[in-house]
């Protein structure tokens, strides 16, 4: 029973298949501390495996300098640069050096524009974070109320429409949705800007202000300039919708299924037999518990969201990590690619941990 709970929740950590579900049903709050510790420790192998996988894969194509500059430099010069960077040493030595550097927060230096990867990450990371926050907002605002509605009107026509809508959200590639939105709202109707995070004037103001966070909405608020703020928000609408709808479809389906499930539970029946009105039943009794699985699914959604962000950012020229990743890919700058991918892996692992902790705090059955 709990086995599937975990699996439904898309829980990370290698526990989903363990055959004895009984042990997990400990009474009270016992085991939370040890659960948190074990769950935290599991981040380490996860990140380690991903770092190793990415390193091995990327390095199996050859060293990054040859990949980036091969054919453009004479062979002797190339060999010299490879030697300088230490890429001609045994791969194991390089691997351990790479791991050591990662531990000290050194992700290497990009080859194409010679910047520390950490600087790239901090500069563009906030843009991706901003996009992700807006998208999650769109997903919640659309997914949860409509999911509830679909469950309430189960098998009636609004349910059918909403379910098809949810599948369409999933079936439409984010970049195609982005292009359609652009075509309709920016080109044909002319309501919203085509691409970018802000218009040139606003962007200059935002970048020259004291201590910018890189989170444009926050910065615009701090500037206190309503024009800049509205400009920034206008630029964010279409990318947020394009990326948010993907997750909204997932939320809609999940809320629908779970509300249908809780509506059939004994305690809802009990409340109904006590004369609790249908609306209240739905709002209080069936709806709230159905939201718990959403928390656990957000962990997986973050991974999906980051993947989608790469595509969305490319579509809208939103200068975040994903956009930058594609630029570096085209320049065959694999040090930068590796750095960004590893960084995203760390983010995903940490969010999954946080989500699992929240899930464990909310629902004692999740612990093991």
């Amino acid at each position: 029973m709990t086995t599937t709970t975990t699996e439904l929740a898309g829980d990370a950590a290698g526990v989903d298949g363990s055959p004895a579900p009984t042990g997990r049903r400990r009474g009270g709050g016992g085991g939370l501390g040890s659960y948190l510790v074990i769950r935290f420790l599991l981040i380490i192998p996860t990140i380690f495996i991903l770092v190793t996988t990415v390193f091995v894969l990327m390095r199996s194509t050859g060293d990054p300098i040859t990949a980036a500059l091969g054919g453009r430099l004479p062979a002797a010069q190339l060999a010299e640069r490879v030697h300088e960077a230490g890429y001609d040493r045994p791969i194991l030595v390089q691997y351990f050096e790479y791991l050591g550097n990662l531990l000290t927060g050194d992700f290497g230096t990009t080859i194409s524009d010679n910047r520390p990867v950490t600087q790239v990450l901090t500069t563009y990371g906030t843009a991706t974070l901003e996009l992700a926050v807006y998208s999650l907002l769109v997903a919640f605002v659309i997914g949860i109320p409509f999911g509830r509605l679909a469950a309430y009107l189960r098998d009636k026509w609004p349910d059918a429409v909403l379910r098809v809508f949810a599948i369409l959200c999933y079936a439409t590639p984010v970049f195609f949705l982005g292009m359609l939105l652009k075509l309709v709202f920016s080109i044909w109707l002319g309501w919203l800007p085509v691409a970018g995070r802000a218009s040139t004037g606003a962007e200059i103001q935002l970048q020259t202000m004291a201590h910018p966070t890189g989170f444009y909405t926050l910065d615009a608020l701090r500037l206190g300039n309503p024009e800049v703020l509205s400009d920034v928000l206008q630029h964010a609408i279409l990318p947020a919708i394009a990326l948010g709808l993907l997750t909204a479809g997932v939320f809609l389906r999940l809320v629908r299924t779970n509300v249908i499930g809780t509506l059939g539970m004994g305690y809802v029946e009990a409340a109904r037999s006590r004369g609790v009105p249908e609306r209240r039943l739905l709002r209080k009794h069936a709806y709230r518990p159905a939201l718990i699985p959403i928390v656990t699914v957000i962990g997986l959604q973050i991974a999906l969201l980051l993947g989608g962000a790469v595509l969305t950012e490319t579509t809208f020229e939103w200068k975040g990590l994903g956009f930058q990743l594609v630029q570096y890919l085209q320049a065959r700058d694999f040090v930068a690619v590796q750095g960004i991918v590893v960084m995203l892996a760390v983010i995903v692992a940490i969010t999954n941990f946080i989500v699992d902790v929240i899930a464990a705090l909310i629902d004692p059955r999740v612990r093991y």
């Binding site: 699996e7 590639p173 652009k182 075509l183 499930g261 539970m265 004994g266 109904r272 490319t314």
Partner: protein, 378 residues
């Protein structure tokens, strides 16, 4: 997991897995044994089609029609497409770039001067190749690893589970990009491109098959019939293939359909980022969308809308089939023939106390209880 439990006869299950009604039920209240279907009606999808009603049947049929349309288009692409996917001119001269739809080119031409309709049709062929190769490879690898890992356990199992979880939690597109860099390494031929895309997708989906098959194997391994086989003296290999594998792969058709649709999206995503197949080697929808990105800004819609709609329709079709199969396998979500308004009859619930027993606030216990939810009883 609940689904497979439900499908097995009660007697096969350990007592603690049975729900209350099943344990205490008297012959009179026992549900009639499922009718034995014969011939073609027992085929997977056909059977579910017979099971479905109303809206659910509509969704399944729509999905099947779309998927069949996709298959036929892919198979008969050479007959359907007016031009070759890499044809730039016909006897009357070059097509010209970005021509709006006309009687010559029903869907216009791309920025590279290709016929959009032809590329959309040929693209279905590429997509089909990639799905078939990717899904087959991930099934073979995932099922094999899951079976061995679940059956033998031990340190290998632990390592594989941690690795699979690590990969599973990672943004799949990024992983596909990394793998595509490694494999393609500048390859742009049809076979090279298709294999690069397919292997990238395989790497992503192996963990999914692995997880499902492993979990099932662990469960089945402890069943009485496996022990009996051991007592008789059957070898590991025989038990794994004869007894465990057949029972562990029940849900695969469902995952397969859903993965096929995800594979299309991943392929399109890769293509959109420039890891697709060169336009001269084959037609690929994602790649065409990438090329159409700048067209959108100048209001040229036909280069992006049609390949995009093709992706949406195919993914929609496959997803509808997968979703419907999923719902039909889950008694809680299955619409019954005599569907009565679920909010209404209290008496009907009182007769069936099963759902109430497991009810925790989490709402998940009810999901797991195959016969407990009231949906199953109606």
């Amino acid at each position: 997991m609940a689904r497979h439990v439900e499908e097995r006869p009660v007697e096969e299950r350990p007592v603690e897995e049975r729900s209350v009604e099943e344990v205490v039920e008297t012959p009179e209240t026992a549900p009639a044994p499922p009718r034995r279907l014969n011939g073609w009606r027992r085929l997977p999808v056909v059977r579910q089609l017979g099971q479905s009603v109303g809206l659910q049947r509509g969704m399944l049929v729509a999905g099947l029609v779309l998927s069949a349309g996709f298959l036929l288009t892919a198979i008969f692409a050479p007959l359907l497409a007016p031009y070759e996917y890499n044809q730039l001119r016909d006897p009357s001269g070059p097509f010209g770039a970005q021509q709006p739809p006309s009687s010559q080119h029903w869907l216009g031409t791309t920025v590279g001067g290709f016929d959009v309709l032809s590329r959309v049709i040929w693209g279905s062929r590429t997509a089909l190749f990639v799905i078939v190769v990717a899904v087959l490879m991930s099934i073979v690898v995932g099922v094999l690893l899951g079976l061995v890992s679940g059956y033998f356990g031990g340190w290998l199992d632990r390592v594989l589970v941690v690795v699979a979880d690590a990969i599973y939690a990672f943004p799949s597109l990024l992983l596909a990009i990394v793998v595509a860099i490694v494999i393609s390494g500048g390859q742009s031929s049809l076979v090279g491109g298709v294999m690069a895309a397919a292997i990238s997708i395989t790497v992503i989906y192996v963990p999914q098959y692995f997880r499902v098959v492993r979990a099932e194997t662990v469960r089945i391994k402890s069943e009485a019939f496996v022990e009996s086989a051991k007592v008789i003296g059957a070898g590991h290999w025989r038990i794994m293939t004869r007894h465990v594998l057949r029972n562990a792969t029940r849900t695969l058709p469902l995952i397969l359909t859903l993965n096929a649709s995800e594979a299309i999206l991943t392929l399109a995503g890769l293509g959109f980022l420039g890891f697709g197949i060169e336009p001269t080697a084959a037609a690929e929808w994602g790649f065409d969308l990438n090329k159409a990105l700048s067209d959108v800004t100048s209001g040229i819609w036909w280069t992006s809308v049609f390949p995009g709609v093709a992706i949406v329709l195919v993914v929609l079709g496959l997803t509808l089939v997968g979703e419907s199969l999923n719902d039909l396998a889950d008694p809680r979500l299955r619409t019954r023939r005599r569907a009565v308004d679920p909010r209404g009859d209290v008496a009907d619930v009182a007769v069936v106390p099963g759902g109430a027993l497991e009810g925790g606030p989490g709402g998940l216990a009810g999901i797991e209880d195959p016969a407990g939810g009231r949906w199953a009883e109606q």
